[in-house]
């Protein structure tokens, strides 16, 4: 199939003229009935067979095609009286006000009109919108009291939404019927229509008042047959039935010479039905309802909004060859892999072209068919015809026919490349290419290191998987989208994929000074982790027994010539760094692939922070980095499982002494607050620059209280650490916080020592009753506890009042997140819409699809941020060190 590329030069929008509608329509619809007693469609009804076919097997009475081929044909309803098209009512109003009620000319002198005509021409030539010019014309013309052309006096026209126009003649209100409106619009000359923005070749003003209604083909409004054999019509059909009914009654009454009042009522009703047929959500019009009371979904509703045709069916289509299920973790998979349940692997297929090399293998798959796992679901003949293997009776006959050139749609097998996605897809790492690993059970499985880029966890998250169908797409996905190629984030030039939670605490515990293994244990651990490397000389020999340190074991994962120094996350930021001599072992030194000193923690290979991992990706490539992460995952998880790790409420236990000191600090703080309040009352409080005295007081109080909370935190941490050292009793919660695995010291403080000040909108809590937060306090009490300072720790438990304040602060947090996500989501939608087809060209310019340049050098320096050193172009220190080392050797 050859595709001839065509360029859409322009799209022209216009109105349908009555003549056009009559030409377009195959059928004049005259009766409101759809089917007769036998269930056959009635000729001249809304289901007229000439409007197209929806029932399989039948042929269209107009074009003779079958279901899929007949596009459907339009019909028409001749309206007994014209009606206003709601969508144009506003424009009609503007035109009526700007044109003469007698001669139909624009209410401006000839020269003025000419001026506008010129301006419009100019705007069109440079591709500018003509809207502001036409608006200006309406504005000026509306002001005229009499016609400059025929001299007729102009009357005020009122527009009553949605479709009524009222003219005020000598103080009396006269309702303009659509007939009158249409007559006035008809009087407008083509030249005048043009200055009002019309292209008269496709849109005359009077066409905005309908005399004939176009009836969409049945294919647009198919009826569905329920199980009971009952037919259920589309909402549009229902609406059209209403229109025809009223139209008929109106016509009959007119012919019978019914009183004007009745005719006008029916006319009004017809206007209502036509209005709601176009848009059932017009302000001021009660929506037309279904028998069940549900508002009908008419034309505008089909297109509008998130569930409308554009956003739901055109911008976002559903696709084949995709699967979705719950995700769960599996540290035994590589970061590049995804575990696919067998039932899904049997459903998703990949087309493989039969060649002499693979014919035997593919025939075996075809023989297995759709039910037996590695099998196939379809075969495709060279002419493109698809045969479903589920329906083939004689498989041997089919196998005989298969030869090179055929295609076999075989099941997913291990090693296939697929795309894996988690919504919301906020950045490019939200869709990455994985290699399939077919596994039992029913969840997708993934390595924990890829949770950060997807922002996934396992509390019920679901993810989507797409089986790639073409060889080119597969190659492209493999090269550009594979997980290992995405380790470095283009956002900050560091790894976004890396260890989390147990990886970090595991590595921390493994590389702690003093951790040692007997040869046996070391082999156990390494074997379980699949590391096949010879052990180095044992570092410790004690009583004739050999021991390996945790650092030695970890070193086995490092590239042999890697040398690196950096400060770990556990670093205390001492004034003078003692480097290798660090008492906390926070200075990491790696020399020739051996971890000499320092603890592995979040700064080593954590997602968003891993310096060591960063070095490995950038110096040794993505393959090495993938291998490193896979091995670290296994080793560290095996180690932490073997060693044991758990946390409980006793991790927040503090000795009596610590509790006393904390209470003392808090008492002091509360006293200080009272001091401040007294100073304020005595008017001796020193005012801060640019603040009122009240603001100063508030700021000082906040300062005192937050300082107090920090101090209690420091004390808590001090005791937790001291206990840990003294009793060699590990405090898991503290380990997690310090190593960066999970939680922070602030979290620990709040649990063990003091929750601290609660805030709403960044201020101490002040809402509630007038002058006080709760009736438990005196009016004007601004002490710490009256304004939401929570003295207790989570472990102690909060007093009822504290709990209440805490709840207020917590609720604000929840509301904020809810608001933020929706706002940032909308912003992202608009940004993506605006930037979607910008592209960095090979010459580093950024251009859109028209070739218009946006940037002459991408990012002004032409750099790819993911290849930079955390956003900096070069890391001079690293280069110097590397050079110094090679020099020394």
């Amino acid at each position: 199939m050859r595709i001839i590329p065509k360029k859409v030069e322009r799209i022209k929008f216009g109105l349908l003229s009555p003549e056009m509608i009559r030409k377009l329509a195959e059928v004049k619809i005259v009766t409101a009935d759809t089917y007769d007693e036998d269930g056959y469609p009635i000729e001249g009804g809304l289901m007229d067979p000439r409007l197209g076919v929806v029932d399989p097997g039948l042929r269209c009475k107009t074009c003779g095609s079958r279901v899929g081929d007949c596009p459907g044909h339009f019909g028409r309803i001749e309206l007994a009286r014209p009606v206003i098209h709601v969508g144009y009512a506003k424009l009609i109003n503007k035109i009526l006000r700007s044109t003469c009620r007698e001669c139909g000319r624009v209410l401006l002198p000839e020269e003025k009109i000419e001026e506008f005509r010129e301006e419009l021409k100019r705007a069109r030539r440079i591709g500018k919108s003509d809207e502001p010019i036409v608006e200006e014309l309406f504005k000026q013309a509306r002001a005229s009291k009499s016609c400059p052309h025929c001299g007729a006096e102009q009357k005020e026209i009122k527009f009553e939404k949605p479709t009524t126009f009222i003219e005020v003649v000598e103080g009396r209100q006269h309702r303009l019927s659509p007939i009158e409106v249409r007559e006035r619009l008809e009087r407008i000359t083509d030249e005048d229509a043009e200055v009002m923005g019309f292209d008269v070749s496709v849109a005359r003003p009077e066409w905005m008042v309908l005399t004939v209604l176009l009836v969409p083909p049945v294919t647009v409004r198919p009826s569905i047959t329920l199980e009971s054999g009952e037919r259920s019509e589309d909402d549009l059909t229902h609406k059209l039935v209403d229109i025809i009914r009223i139209n008929q009654r109106l016509e009959e009454n007119m012919e019978a010479g019914a009183p004007q009042l009745i005719i006008e009522d029916l006319w009004e009703l017809l206007q209502y039905h036509v209005t709601t047929y176009f848009n059932n959500e017009v302000a001021g019009v009660p929506p037309a309802r279904h028998r069940s009371g549900r508002p009908l979904k008419t034309l505008a509703q089909r297109l509008k909004g998130k569930e409308g045709r554009f956003r739901s069916n055109l911008s976002g289509k559903r696709v084949n060859y995709s699967a979705r299920t719950v995700i769960s973790p599996d540290p035994n998979l590589s970061i590049n892999e995804v575990g696919v349940p067998e039932i899904i692997a049997r459903e998703l297929t990949i087309p493989e072209i039969v060649t002499p090399m693979n014919i035997e293998r593919l025939k075996k798959l075809v023989r297995n068919g759709p039910a037996k796992y590695p099998g196939a679901n379809y075969v495709e003949r060279p002419d493109g015809a698809r045969l479903s293997l589920a329906r083939v009776r004689d498989i041997d006959e089919l196998l005989e026919k298969i030869e090179p050139g055929w295609k076999v749609h075989r099941h997913l097998i291990d090693g296939d490349i697929v795309l894996f996605n988690r919504q919301p897809s906020l950045h490019r790492m939200s869709i990455m290419a994985h290699e399939v690993k077919v596994l039992p059970y029913k969840t997708f499985r993934l390595n924990l290191c890829v949770c950060p880029p997807y922002n996934a966890d396992f509390d019920g998250d679901e993810m989507n998987l797409h089986a790639i169908q073409s060889q080119e797409a597969r190659a492209e996905a493999r090269v550009l989208m594979r997980v290992q190629e995405q380790i470095l984030s283009p956002r900050f030039g560091g790894p976004i994929i890396g260890g989390i939670h147990d990886h970090i605490s595991g590595a921390y515990l493994l590389t702690l000074p003093g951790v040692r293994f007997t040869k046996e244990d070391a082999f156990h651990l390494l074997y379980a982790s699949g590391i096949k490397k010879p052990l180095p000389e044992p570092e410790i020999v004690e009583n004739g027994k050999e021991y390996y340190t945790g650092k030695q074991i970890f070193s086995l994962l490092l590239p042999e010539d890697l040398s690196l120094r950096y400060k770990a996350k556990v670093c205390r930021k001492c004034e003078v760094c003692r480097e290798e001599e660090c008492e906390y072992d926070a200075y990491v030194v790696i020399e020739n692939g051996r971890l000499k000193c320092g603890i592995m923690d979040e700064k080593s290979f954590g997602a968003f922070a891993g310096v060591l991992l960063d070095r490995i990706v950038k110096d040794y490539g993505t393959d090495a980095a993938r291998e490193f992460l896979d091995r670290v995952t296994k080793l560290v998880i095996n180690f932490i499982t073997w060693r044991g790790f758990s946390t409980g409420i006793d991790d927040e236990d503090l000795p009596e002494e610590a509790k006393e000191r904390i209470a003392e600090i808090l008492d002091d703080a509360e006293r200080n607050v009272f001091e401040l309040i007294r100073a304020y009352n005595d008017k001796i409080l020193e005012q801060l620059p640019g603040r009122t005295l009240e603001e100063t007081l508030e700021m000082r109080i906040m300062e005192v209280l937050s300082e107090a909370r920090d101090k209690t935190g420091a004390i808590a941490n001090e005791y937790l650490e001291r206990e840990e050292r003294r009793r060699r009793h590990e405090n898991s919660a503290r380990i997690m916080a310090v190593s960066g695995a999970r939680g922070s010291l602030l979290n620990l403080t709040q649990m063990a020592a003091c929750v601290g000040q609660q805030s709403v909108r960044g201020e101490r809590i002040k809402r509630g009753y007038s002058g006080r937060t709760l009736p438990h306090f005196k009016v004007g009490d601004i002490s710490a506890r009256a304004k939401g300072f929570v003295r207790s720790s989570y472990k102690q438990g909060l007093s009822p009042l504290e709990f209440f304040f805490h709840n207020m602060g917590g609720r604000e947090g929840l509301v904020d997140t809810a608001v933020r996500t929706s706002q940032s989501g909308y912003m992202q939608r608009r940004l993506i819409n605006a930037l979607q087809d910008l592209k960095v060209e090979y010459d580093h310019t950024v251009r859109d699809t028209r070739g218009v340049i946006v940037e002459f050098q991408h990012g002004e320096d032409g750099s790819d941020p993911s290849r930079t050193d955390w956003g900096k172009m070069v890391n001079v220190k690293n280069i110097v060190e590397k050079y110094a080392r090679t020099e020394a050797e």
Partner: protein
């Protein structure tokens, strides 16, 4: 008392302002060379209004290409080109 409107441009040399980058009109040959290098027509360059104060200051005419040398946080200095347009 202040009477009448003073055109700031007559009092202050805006090109001397710290935040105004250097604007230069490119010569015919330079412009041609630039368009050839980028393989584009003038219409594909970013635009600048002829009413822009700096355009008026350096007396550039519609169709002229202006070379703007800016300070850049990523690259030190960076060069941008804009074509003068009528509206």
């Amino acid at each position: 008392m202040c009477k009448g409107v003073v055109d700031v441009r007559r009092v202050v040399d805006i090109s001397k302002h710290e935040l105004v980058p250097k604007h230069e009109v490119m010569s015919e040959e330079e412009a041609k060379e630039l368009l050839e290098r980028l393989n584009i027509t003038k219409g594909q360059l970013p635009k600048i209004l002829k009413s822009d104060p700096m355009v008026q200051k350096i007396k550039a005419k519609p169709g002229d290409i202006i070379k703007i040398t800016r300070k850049s946080p990523t690259a030190g200095t960076t060069i941008y080109y804009r074509v003068v347009v009528n509206e």
